[in-house]
Amino acid sequence: MAVEYIQPEYEVVRNQERCIVCRVCERQCANQVHEYLKDSNRMVADDSKCVNCHRCVALCPTRALKIVKSPHTFKENTNWSGKAISEIYKQAESGGVLLSSMGNPENYPVYFDKMLLNASQVTNPSIDPLREPMETRVFLGAKPERIERDEKGRIIRSLPPQIQLSMPVMFSAMSYGSISYNAHESLARAAAELGILYNTGEGGLHEDLYKYGKNTIVQVASGRFGVHKDYLESGAAIEIKMGQGAKPGIGGHLPGEKVGMDISRTRMIPEGTDAISPAPHHDIYSIEDLRQLVYSLKEATGYKKPVIVKIAAVHNVAAIASGIARSGADMIAIDGFRGGTGAAPTRIRDHVGLPIELALASVDKRLRDEGIRNRVSIIAGGSIRSSADVVKAIALGADCVYIATAALVALGCHLCRSCHTGKCNWGIATQRPDLVKRLNPNIGFRRLVNLLTAWQHEIKEMMGGMGINSIEALRGNRLMLRGVGLNEKELEILGIKHAGE
């Protein structure tokens, strides 16, 4: 095209003094940014192809590369940002819906960053996790409202199915298809090693990973891909996906080119066909329908598996959660609007949903107000970035959190937000064998284990500082939180006081 409306976002800066022409950048860039010029024996780059994934930067052995934001600018103003302008150019050219990946990047408040944690001083000793037991084990599942005793007066210990986790963090749903086999294997093995769960997402479960079933949540989504009896029985829990924080109200679409032999078999669809998850479940048009699916799944698995219902955080999330709690579900997963995705319409990703912090606070409060909080466990997801976010989410009232983006980042993801291209240079969001092999699960699983081990240490440190040595005493303990820079309404919804109060 003669007119270039859109200019490269990044520039690849190469320090020719340091470049030894090893060509690793060229070999490792699936976007073919780098090129070797034989005549002059030097490397050059085509900035327009760069997605800023940093694969070349990370592998350059002489640190000769860096990627900088292009100083190119439109005549922007507050209203017409460069992004707004380029998006118009793109749509004027393509006539299509804009697609994006990963979580909402826009400048909405991040409430986790506006809450501070408490610590003990004088009147109540802080507890040193290096010296005293510091417990992060949690149980997920419905709790009985009364107890019964046998004829000897002993408590009858029959409970609805429970999940025991070594720490209140799980890997949330990412389908095999949206991410690679090696990414899945890394998650599965890390979950097994850590004593937590990972989630298959809606793409079914590769037969090689059935052995990690006790650490697996099997998801049932609107496309019902890969759902069969063995699949349901293989997992520790079943999740019904009603919605996803990154794209509430929107289904999923795995392009046919990603549906190779293994994925085709796992999803139970023909090779090369698009895998389209409808926006709604076509058998769930009401809460009663959901209840039927919950019980169908329980019936199918002999009431041995807890059922999770996952919803996107939307405006009336509290009422929806209340309905779900009464539908027989054992757990509710709430996914905030910053949650990641392999691909979502940009407008949906950037403009729909709620911050998880507010959604979580209002759901927890609503369920308590209705006296049904113990009927369900709450799993909060949608951009939990650190152990501090975990602690804050638990203090707001979550039983457990879901992480996905953080896990991918641990696996090497650089948040270039180009998942939808299928050319993930880090071997995560791709099905191209040459790219998939870049993620060695032996390394990947170890990095995930390291990440959560580190988080667990930090969680223990923060708990110890608060004088709490079992994480259940942190759950819903909102006095441990104080807001900074929040208005009355925000504080009210979060159920916390302002710092200094």
Binding site: G141, Q162, A192, E193, L194, L197, A236, N442
Partner: protein, 423 residues
């Protein structure tokens, strides 16, 4: 246990190292008619060339004998073996008793029966350090050196002399250089290369006689020379065994455990003949690697550990004026061939096996071809077309590669089922 080794070169070292692996205390006696610490014979040409010196020619470090606790009888010749008494009688009458004896007596240069040879001044053979030292002493500026034989020894000698400001003339009965290891075309390439380095050849010619220091050829040409090097071949030293009725042919006959036909007597190295597994023939393969491995095999068996060496093949790595030649095996069967006139590659194969090869120039990873011959690898188990073009592990199956490179062994899989989360 008393071990006696006749000879102090490669095979002897192989035997000593093997014996000491199994027997730390037994007595080892080494008898050699040379007075030197063990040195590498093939290096004598490099000594002439100035690329090495006597110190660096030592095949093993100075402390080799003490470390391996060997008793040395150097400059002494083993005259005969007394099989009944199990002892070796030396030239000075001393007798050395043995429980196990290794004959690693090597070979001697062939001196052809040419009329007038006895009157030639400055004539040398070229297999020992003393040979090289004597030859060096006889050299002078612009001397004409006539080398009889364009084989491995003759040409290495020629190269060794090349920096000495002497004229080098090579005569060989064969019409080709290195006729024992090269075929016509490769031989021609090497001849060109050698001529480019100022070696003159008289090929397909016979020296019929000498008139003092003039060689007379069969076509009546006469070549005057100052120094004569006889490099027409070597003959195994078999007499010690032959004298006591042991089986010999051109060389001493040994089995795959390096045993001679006489109990408790082993033989190894250039004095032997053994099976060339690339051709299935028994032949003399006077090659250093074989000598070491035969010596090692003999040493193992002598010290009580059963060991078989049945992987002997002819193989030669030789560099001449910067051009490297590698050959191995037997040149029979179908061929794969590529050459640009300077470099050369020919592979010989039949019956699903690689029989031999000749490489000139690009010798990268040649050992992979050697291994195919040595291991008799069925060619249909690998990508033969690929390996012909490029020797490498790529041509093998994934499983074979994994085995060779260790990739599949003990790959850490974490805990297949770790901490269960199910109540």
């Amino acid at each position: 246990m008393e071990y006696v080794i006749i000879g102090n070169s490669t095979a002897a070292v192989g035997a000593v190292e093997a014996i000491r692996r199994n027997d730390k205390t037994g007595k080892i006696v080494i008898i050699s008619n040379e007075k030197y610490h063990v040195y590498s014979r093939p290096l004598i040409s490099y000594l002439l060339l100035g690329k090495t010196d006597e110190e660096r020619m030592k095949y093993r470090n100075d402390d080799f004998y003490s470390e391996h606790r060997c008793e040395l009888k150097l400059g002494r010749t083993a005259q005969r073996i007394d099989v009944q008494e199990k002892r070796v009688i030396l030239d000075d009458g001393e007798s050395v008793s043995y429980d196990r004896l290794l004959v690693a007596s090597g070979s001697s240069p062939v001196v052809p029966p040419i009329p007038g040879l006895e009157k030639v001044r400055n004539k040398f053979t070229f297999t020992t350090l003393d040979d090289a030292k004597s030859l060096e002493k006889a050299l002078f500026e612009n001397a004409r050196v006539l080398i009889l034989g364009a084989g491995l020894i003759g040409l290495k000698c020629a190269e060794g002399l090349s920096k000495r400001n002497v004229e080098i003339i090579c005569v060989d009965l064969s019409t080709r250089v290195l006729s024992s290891i090269l075929d016509d075309q490769s031989s021609e390439i090497m001849k060109q290369h050698l001529e480019d380095h100022h070696i003159s050849f008289y090929l397909g010619r016979q020296v019929t006689g000498f008139k003092d220091n003039v060689a007379c050829l069969d076509d009546n040409d006469e070549i005057p020379f100052d120094v004569l090097v006889l490099a027409v071949g070597v003959r195994p030293n078999v007499n010690l065994i032959k004298d006591i009725g042991g089986k010999t042919n051109r060389g001493i006959l040994i089995d795959e455990r390096c045993r001679t036909s006489i109990p408790d007597i082993y033989a190894a190295g250039d004095c032997c003949e053994s099976m060339d597994i690339s051709s299935g023939q028994i032949k003399q393969m006077a090659l250093l690697p074989n000598a070491y491995m035969q010596g090692e095999c003999a040493g193992m068996n002598m010290s009580g550990v059963d060991c078989i060496f049945d992987k002997a093949i002819p193989m030669n790595a030789i560099g001449l004026f910067g051009k490297h030649i590698m050959t191995a095996g037997t040149y029979t069967g179908q061929t794969y061939y590529e050459s640009d006139g300077k470099d050369y590659k020919k592979l010989f194969y039949s019956n699903n096996r690689l029989n031999g090869f000749i490489l000139i120039g690009n010798i990268e990873k040649a050992g992979i071809y050697t291994a195919l011959i040595r291991e008799k690898t069925p060619l249909d188990t690998l990508d033969f077309e690929l390996i012909c073009k490029t020797p490498g592990l790529m041509a093998f199956s994934r499983e074979t590669r994994a085995e060779k490179l260790g990739g599949v062994i003990n790959e850490y899989l974490g805990s297949p089922v770790g901490i269960s989360c199910v109540e």
